[in-house]
């Protein structure tokens, strides 16, 4: 799923948490957050479907990611290279990356079917490196692909609050 339509309309108004398909999707998003904080990037990359895009745009309201400059625009190949870069030990920023703790919450559901759930959520990430805490807030859009063989992430867009201002170079992933 590379089509990440992310309009504000909520297809599913509360209460939706009772829907077991939504529960599965949220569970996967939380699992992903835990893997990222643990810097378990090889396992993390396995969560993604082959056609998933992982994007950190600069313009907060664009959906034309291919035609604009992003901080990250990763298809499977770039995602794998990114993980290799972080784990191989030759990137000084990754070796000395900040520790992170993130919470993902304030879920809304933009669509639900038996095969796919689209979720929007808020992420608050606190990082710590060399005596300095930093906070990064972001809106997340996830496409979760449901399947009996294991649910996967079919796409993720991370819209940082400060995406069009200065974002500090860091060795970790969002």
């Amino acid at each position: 799923m590379t089509d990440l339509v992310t309009g504000p309309a909520l297809a599913t108004a509360p209460p939706f948490l009772a829907d077991p398909r939504v529960q599965r999707a949220i569970q996967l998003v939380w699992h992903e957050a835990a893997l990222l904080d643990a810097k378990d990037y090889e396992v993390w990359a396995e969560l993604y479907t082959d056609d998933a895009l992982y994007v950190v745009p600069i313009e907060r309201d664009t959906d034309d990611f291919a035609g604009s400059l992003n901080m990250i625009y990763d298809d499977k190949r770039m995602r794998q290279m990114r993980v290799a870069r972080i784990v191989e030990g030759y990137s000084l920023s990754a070796v000395d990356a900040a520790r992170t703790v993130r919470t993902v919450s304030r879920f809304t559901v933009t669509s639900v079917s038996d095969t796919e759930v689209r979720l929007r959520s808020a992420q608050v990430l606190v990082s710590f490196k060399r005596d300095e805490h930093a906070v990064l807030g972001a809106d997340l859009d996830h496409v979760v692909v449901l399947s009996d063989g294991g649910d996967r992430i079919g796409g993720k867009v991370i819209r940082l609050l400060n995406s069009d201002a200065s974002v500090n170079a860091s060795g970790y992933l969002l």
Binding site: I58, L69, M71, Y73, R85, S91, A94, A165, N168, A169
Partner: protein
Amino acid sequence: MTPTPPAPALVEPDRVHGSLYTDPEIFEQELTKIFESTWVWVAHDSELPKPGTFKSTYVGRQPVIVTRDRKGTVRTLLNRCRHRGASLCEKPRGEANGFTCPYHAWSYGLDGRLRGIPYPDGYEGVMEKSDLSLRALRTESYGGMIFASYDPDIEPLVDFLGDVAPWIDLFTKQGGGYPIKVLGRHQFTFRGNWKIQLENTTDGYHFPIVHRSWMASVDAETADMMSFMTDPECTTHSLGNGHSVMQMVPEHSDLDADDGTEPLQARFDGLVAELGQAGLDDAAVRRLVRAMHGTGFNLNLFPNVSLSNSFFRVLRPIAVDRTLVEHIAIGPDGPPEIVGPVNRERLRIHEHFQGPFGFGTPDDSEGWERVQRGAQAEPAMPIMVNRGMAREKAAGEGWPTSHVTDETGMRAAYAKWKEMMGDD
């Protein structure tokens, strides 16, 4: 702590004093004697495509608005209302007929002239509107690069650029026959002094060490193109006035010089086909594709901008130990069926290395922060910029020239720094 000697004495030909990175007083002097005295890059022409377009930015630490007025003249105006000082414009870019202060609604034209004051009777006999235009900086441009200066009597921009001008001409050839335009920008700060970044632009020496993980992630052809470390043809020239150029891929310095023998990189096969379908002949396709990684040189302009590969790198000093850096991606400006696919490809190349999540920038940034942290250990100890001094020769147009891994560019910048910091 031994007292720090006067600033100019802190720079010697082969070394500089560590306090150049750490002393807040030196930093304050730099703002006045350098950033408020010389030509500082503010914008590219394409950021102000038509009358009424503007960009807000900084010269040194002072906020400015760069505007294109009704007649097409580019102005750099202090972003400060003449009434009680409110900032007039908080938008990074846009289009406007003028600027109205949000506080008491004094309104100004795109040329900075005070046009209107609400309830003006209170000002009768007190002041003349014509005395209260926005403060304008002297503004000149060359090759689409717009610079501003607080000094109304400064030498003309072309004199300041000197031998840099022909390199700007070469750099713009990466438009492949089209003008170049800004495609987008990355912005990040690092906890370090601005000069650490200034030095880095012509520091070929750090490349294979710091960017080992980027090298591992690119295709063999790209890695091969960057094999400048041991190639004696790859040189750095000092161009005068603190400017320098580092040529990593000399065979791409003049993109019009193409004998047709260099194979195009396989990664662009899809693009080549697409451009062919859009009606371009082979020569035009080669022109655009060979320019994909830019011109293969980094042109470092003292004090705040460099033209690097396929982007502009702009620095802004924020504090003695904090600097903002912009990586401004550029590409050809032309018909969408041609520049669309070309620029999508260029954006991906840019993202791969640059920006806060690129495969290169975070490692540079970590290196620069390490310099700042380390320099606090006995600041009187020197920072060495002596690499290649013994093999420096006058080459080309008389430019001091050395190998691409040598510190010729840094020595040039510090010599200029010394000169400017000595002026009282």
